[in-house]
């Protein structure tokens, strides 16, 4: 709902329009409700100056394209002032945000178009819903008055965001666990977000100091956040780990908390604090080894899914690109469904059926367990020892017949 407040200090009658508007106000005409009800457009409120004098409405704010957050500010310079072209400049017109106390915080940036008797200002950015802005036409330096016009952008009714899922879903995490994935149903507000996260040690009844790496890693749609424990504290022998200790202690229970004040991009807060409880178990330094996994193959001439079942919990995001499938040298297009507790993948071919013969499977060597170990390398590498132990990631199977 668009709503405009006219707050004009009027000193002189200049035209019939201003007289009409003033008349409506003095007569108690509910111009506001008229417009709200009939036009759903701007409404006017005129504040009469103390001296009782009024002058023409010199300021007008108009939506630019029907949206009240994109506007143009039009200022009319009275011809009676007899200003030269050089007297009319952008400095006469200012537009900006009012703070919660109603104070003007400063001028917005934008583009000015200056004519002989007019100035048009277009803000460089959309106005933010729920805020009040003000246009100021200051003609006091050129023999005129000071004119102000408020513009309110109605707060849109938006649904509170939902934290749909936190990965890993398991309730037991290795004490050298690295990262969480938070999945929301709508884009969240980015920037300075880490004040909204905390880690509560249930057993010690205290918060863990500074556990998170303060780097925002967002998906392109703004719905998925990768939240890292600080790796410097999760790696053995790294200075932060030595000096401050690891974040998690084996055997203790913890709560990852997401504060209820964090809001969606549209400005709606979560509304309730989200808690994920888990217990820290023994650290994991062992590389995932796909040769130890189970593969459940589809039958020939079927469209059954192909199952890859790991013997441990794996990284949610990396699982989504964890497998490549070929038959007769050609890649089989399909989608990967992540199995419960992130313990494997279910590959669904996009179209058609499996043919006779063999299927070639390639597990992504970068796929990681919860502690960052992958088939290609452990998360922590001792430079004094032999280079990384690359695990087998390519497999070939004969598909069973029915």
């Amino acid at each position: 709902m668009m709503r405009v407040h006219w707050t004009l200090k009027l000193r002189h009658f200049h035209n019939c329009l201003s007289v009409l508007i003033l008349f409506c106000c003095l007569c108690g005409c509910s111009q506001e409700s008229d417009v709200d009800d009939k036009l759903a457009g701007p409404v006017a409120r005129i504040d009469q100056a103390e001296d009782g004098m009024v002058e023409a409405a010199l300021l007008e704010i108009t939506p630019n394209g029907g949206d009240d957050s994109d506007v143009e500010v039009h200022a009319t310079i009275p011809v009676e002032l007899e200003l030269s072209e050089s007297d009319v400049s952008s400095s006469l017109l200012t537009f900006g945000l009012l703070d919660e106390a109603g104070e003007f915080i400063g001028a917005m940036g934008g583009e000015y178009a200056v004519g002989k008797n007019s100035i048009v200002f277009t803000p460089a950015f959309s106005l933010v819903a729920g805020n009040v802005y003000m246009a100021i036409l200051d003609l006091t330096r050129v023999g005129g008055g000071l004119h102000r016009l408020e513009w309110s952008v109605a707060a849109a009714a938006v649904d509170p965001p939902q934290l749909e899922q936190i990965f890993p879903t398991t309730g037991e995490l290795p004490a050298n666990h690295l990262k969480f994935y938070l999945i929301f149903d709508q884009p969240m507000r980015q920037g300075d977000i880490f004040k909204f996260f905390s880690l509560w040690c249930v057993d010690k009844e205290e918060f863990v100091g500074r556990p998170f790496r303060h780097t925002e890693l967002w998906s392109e749609d703004g719905k998925q956040l990768t939240l890292w424990f600080h790796p410097g504290r999760q790696k053995s022998g790294v200075n932060l780990n030595v000096e401050l200790g690891a974040i998690l202690e084996e055997g203790l229970e913890y709560e990852l908390r997401v504060d209820d004040q964090w809001s969606s991009l549209e400005g709606a807060p979560l509304g309730e604090t989200f808690r994920k409880r888990f217990r820290a178990i023994a650290k994991d330094y062992v590389q995932p080894n796909p040769a130890d996994w189970q593969f459940e193959l589809p039958h020939q001439h079927s469209s059954e899914p192909l199952l890859v079942m790991a013997n441990e919990h794996l990284d949610y995001a990396l699982l989504k690109r964890g497998l490549t499938v070929k038959q007769a040298g050609n890649e089989v297009l399909g989608r990967i469904e992540i199995m419960a507790d992130e313990r494997g993948m279910r590959f669904h071919r996009a179209t058609g059926q499996w043919s006779d013969g063999r299927v070639e499977l390639s597990v992504n060597p970068m796929i990681e367990d919860l502690a960052g170990n992958s088939p290609s390398r452990p998360f922590e590498v001792d430079i004094n020892e032999v280079a990384e132990d690359n695990k087998k990631v390519s497999f070939s199977f004969e598909l069973p017949s029915r």
Binding site: M108, K179, H214, E220, W228, P231, A317, E368
Partner: protein, 384 residues
């Protein structure tokens, strides 16, 4: 009355706040100069999915990382001087920037700062939290704030290449160096750093000639990590090109970047260790009395637990002869975290306390964006 006076003053200030658009003649001149740097230049609106780190290059070209689209944008600013450095401290710059963007100070994230050494103009990349819109503001020598026009810009955008299925979600730096642009980035899921080399001229939409490397970082005695580079500077030694990168917690290492092929893994040489609990922010080098120094400022995130000085924001300068280190250098120098200086050639810089961002202006001065009890001030400070 107070409100009225405030309005009048701000109204008067409005003359200083407008979009800075280079005039046609300046743009044409800038394009002529920038030809060796940019190619297939686009004209029009530049939008950032998530604006990031910046640096200033030759010919008035401003490099800006667009983290959201995993690309590097090079904007012709037409800003070629003359030098007019900031003449006085600008107080509460965060509030003034918020006003410029039409939101409250809490609704703006100041992402990075860069300085054009030819003009002294300061560039600030800004993120409007309420809608995710990116903006770039400038601060002129007399302290006036303005918006860099992104609607009528001359620019090129170069996407960073990724391996199939991977996505870059963080770009921690972007810098001009000999004949190319370097960028450092991180994938969303993998705790590993990528370095990108973009050959000049930067060509809009062209990324085929860009190669990426995965870096290994050697530090902390026994253990090798794969930490992402947080901040870096290009470095040339004996005609060979290196990246000097700073990592969380805060080892500094150098990586050779000549003669590496796409997809190669390069191992770094540890240079110095500045101590744990710090997140490096900016880096630059300067010369004084024939000696080269590396300056870096950091955010000490364990300040409350183990304070180093009066602020969580502090900085250090390092004698660049430390960069002569070879191979893995497991014996890299370590700063004594309990001392203001030492070992020799590693010194805490007093003027970098409270500095949230810092950029080199010359071999004598730097621009400092300083925390002032929650507000931000912008000022020039002498280099030690």
């Amino acid at each position: 009355m107070k409100r009225l006076i405030g309005i009048c003053l701000l109204s008067a200030l409005a003359v200083t706040i407008s979009i800075s658009v280079a005039g046609n003649s300046e743009t044409v001149a800038a394009e002529k100069k920038a030809k060796p740097v940019l190619e297939n230049i686009q004209s029009g609106s530049v939008e950032f999915k998530r604006i990031g780190r910046m640096s200033f290059g030759p010919d008035g070209v401003l490099l800006v990382a667009d983290v959201g689209s995993a690309s590097v944008v090079a904007i012709q600013t037409g800003d070629s001087g003359p030098m007019k450095k900031l003449s006085k401290k600008v107080e509460d710059v965060d509030k003034k920037l918020a006003a410029l963007l039409g939101v409250s100070a809490e609704d703006v994230q100041l992402v990075d700062m860069a300085v054009n050494k030819k003009s002294g103009t300061i560039y600030l990349s800004l993120h409007r939290k309420s809608d995710g819109v990116g903006a770039i503001a400038t601060v002129s020598g007399d302290g006036e704030l303005a918006l860099l026009s992104l609607k009528k810009a001359s620019y090129v955008r170069v996407p960073l290449p990724v391996k199939e299925g991977t996505v870059i979600r963080n770009i921690t730096g972007v810098e001009f160096t000999n004949g190319r642009v370097l960028a450092a980035g991180q994938c969303n899921e993998e705790f590993a750093s990528k370095i990108y080399s973009l050959p000049l001229p930067l060509t809009h939409g062209k990324s085929a000639e860009i190669y990426s490397t995965e870096t290994y970082h050697v530090a902390h005695g026994r253990w090798e990590t794969r930490a992402p580079i947080q901040s870096f500077v290009p470095y040339v030694e004996d005609g060979k090109n290196y990246i000097v990168g700073s990592f969380s917690c805060t080892p500094i290492a150098k990586f050779p970047i000549d003669d590496i092929e796409s997809g190669a893994q390069i191992k770094g040489t540890s240079v110095v260790e500045l101590g744990s609990g710090n997140r490096p922010v900016d880096m630059f080098t300067y010369e004084k009395d024939g000696k080269q120094w590396l300056v870096t400022n950091t955010d000490r995130f364990h300040h409350s637990r183990r304070p180093l000085g009066p602020s969580q924001y502090w900085g250090v300068r390092v004698d660049m002869s430390y960069l002569d280190a070879k191979d893995i250098n497991e014996d890299a120098a370590r700063r004594d975290v309990s001392q203001q200086a030492g070992p020799d050639g590693i010194e805490v810089v007093e003027s970098l306390f409270f500095a949230k961002h810092v950029a080199k202006l010359s071999n004598k001065e730097m621009v400092v964006l300083r925390d002032d009890e929650g507000a931000l001030d912008l000022e020039i400070a002498p280099l030690p």
